[in-house]
Symmetry: C2
Subunit: 323 residues, 2 copies
């Protein structure tokens, strides 16, 4: 199975999710409808909905609530992106101009709130206390993760473990929830922990690759500005690894550039060269590979078949993706 085949396999469901997303931003308040349309037509990988759909299938869920629950995951994710963009003063998002840029930060904050309340309504409408328990805890962790990241912003002395705790809270727990919901929908309590574990590790890998791509990707492919993390004071694994291994003089120089939140491409180039010298990107890749392998192993107890194959393909894609 290729990633294209995975998407073909769930196409109908993904289209259903798109419909739920578009419906969710219908409102008498025209601004909501406009901004919502812009957001959901700008694309996005729909990684979380994809995982919810596949997890529901492997747990043999026969209903249609996986579409709205997949949309809930995407709504929450999108709400955090809108608030992130305000925090980060981002101009680009998913290759399109950010809401923050096209409208203003006020709109970005309040539409984020609106999307979150829509997710809240949809979760309540589904009337499953297990899902409400999972999602309320997950949302709390997301908020803590974002605030922990803000606290550590621009700190060149952050340690790998601290950084990984941020990655776990701000990204991995939501991807874990996306998978776990499948077990809750399919009432396969015995598989819940495996899918949760799969998602958590996959989420770790996903964010690590995201951080690598911030240094590597072509702007038009990734849809974000390159080196943006650095300008925002986000010190990620390639940098943390390099700071642990480089000379005192190199470290001082890097710390200086990090603290200045330089927008100068020569500074970015200088940082990149030092990171390459100490194999910082390879190190991050190898950590991502470690998490992907852990994710795949977590699925071992689940039955073989097309759904499991698809989940494994998604996991592999996360490790090798270039955007």
């Amino acid at each position: 199975m290729t990633m294209e085949e995975v998407f073909a396999y769930v196409r109908e469901d993904l289209e259903g999710v798109e419909q739920v997303l578009m419906d969710s931003v219908q409102s008498d308040v025209q601004l909501i409808a406009e901004v919502g349309k812009h957001i959901f037509q700008s694309g996005g990988k729909r990684m979380r909905p994809l995982l919810t759909i596949l997890s529901s299938r492997i747990c043999d869920y026969q209903g249609s609530a996986h579409l709205s629950m997949a949309a809930v995951l995407e709504l929450i994710h999108t709400a955090t992106l809108l608030h992130d963009d305000v925090v980060d003063h981002a101009d680009l998002r998913r290759g399109s101009r950010s809401v923050n840029y096209l409208w203003d930060s006020e709109t970005s904050v309040l539409v984020g709130d609106f999307l979150f309340t829509r997710a809240f309504c949809m979760m309540v409408d589904h009337r499953d206390m297990g899902i409400l328990d999972l999602m309320s805890r997950t949302c709390r962790q997301l908020a803590e993760g974002e605030l922990l990241e803000l606290t550590k912003s621009g700190d060149p002395h952050i340690e790998e473990d601290n950084h990984l705790a941020i990655v776990r809270n701000k990204t991995a727990v939501l991807i874990s929830a996306a998978c776990r919901i499948g077990a809750l929908l399919g009432e396969r309590a015995e598989w819940e922990a495996y899918l949760a574990d799969f998602g958590l590790n996959l989420g770790m890998a996903f964010q690590l690759i995201d951080d690598v791509l911030d240094y590597e990707a072509k702007e038009q492919v990734l849809g974000k500005t390159i080196g943006k993390d650095l300008q925002e004071g986000k010190v990620t694994i390639p940098m943390i690894r390099t700071l642990e291994r480089c000379t005192m003089a190199e470290k001082d120089r890097m710390v200086e550039i990090i603290r200045a939140r330089s927008q100068d491409s020569r500074h970015l180039q200088e940082i990149l060269e030092t990171i390459q010298k100490y194999d910082g990107l390879e190190y991050a890749h190898s950590k991502a590979r470690y998490y992907v392998d852990k994710a795949k192993t977590a699925l071992t107890p689940l039955p073989d078949g097309q759904d499991k194959s698809a989940l494994l393909v998604v996991a592999e894609f996360v490790a090798i993706r270039t955007n």
Copy 2:
């Protein structure tokens, strides 16, 4: 009964709510604990918790969940204030420096999100679908109200009905929910509509008086900067009324000042004089009185006694409050 006697009557419960609020901002993320402490020690009227407590009592609720539900109302209210402060670039809140000012707008957005997720967890923990239904709908309306207000920001041609729809969505529905929860907790379905109606009308009056006080109150009493609404482009009832009645020349001049979002105290003075000429503040007061009377009437079917007296005192206080 005086307002002081009402507070004495529910003191123990209100202290319980304070404890829940302080507990809710305990977190391994130190920033959350610090900001949370600042917010909840800065005071606030605790109008919503007060109403939840009194409504629970009149509905003869015997448990202790009214404390956490009262805290949920205050958490949601506080989250919206934090996001409002970012939208409005406010420096003061409840007479203290705003989070926005003391920390930064990023912190204000993300701590707002955190408080909201805490409320979400507490609601889910209570496991009452009726309350979850009510609160999810209410939160959606709040978000819509905020966005509607943003859309109309700086529009001198907004009509009274449109403005009242904003007031209803951004303020009154939450105060209505605070009262309605009492009926849900006490399982008094037959009184739910009355308490909802009481709260909705009280909420309308509360916001109208808030808008009047923006023109009238002493800065140290109200804890906000005077004339702030005007600088933020918020056109409220005293102004809407005046714009409907003044001469063309006066209207042009006021529109000019509104559009300029002037910070000049002479401009504020000029606006105030025109509003006074056309009894704009008296008009807003009379509308507030209308809603307070409607609120009081809504309680008619409920049993007389100390709880009802207290609710009526709160209603009267809203009409005559000076801060």
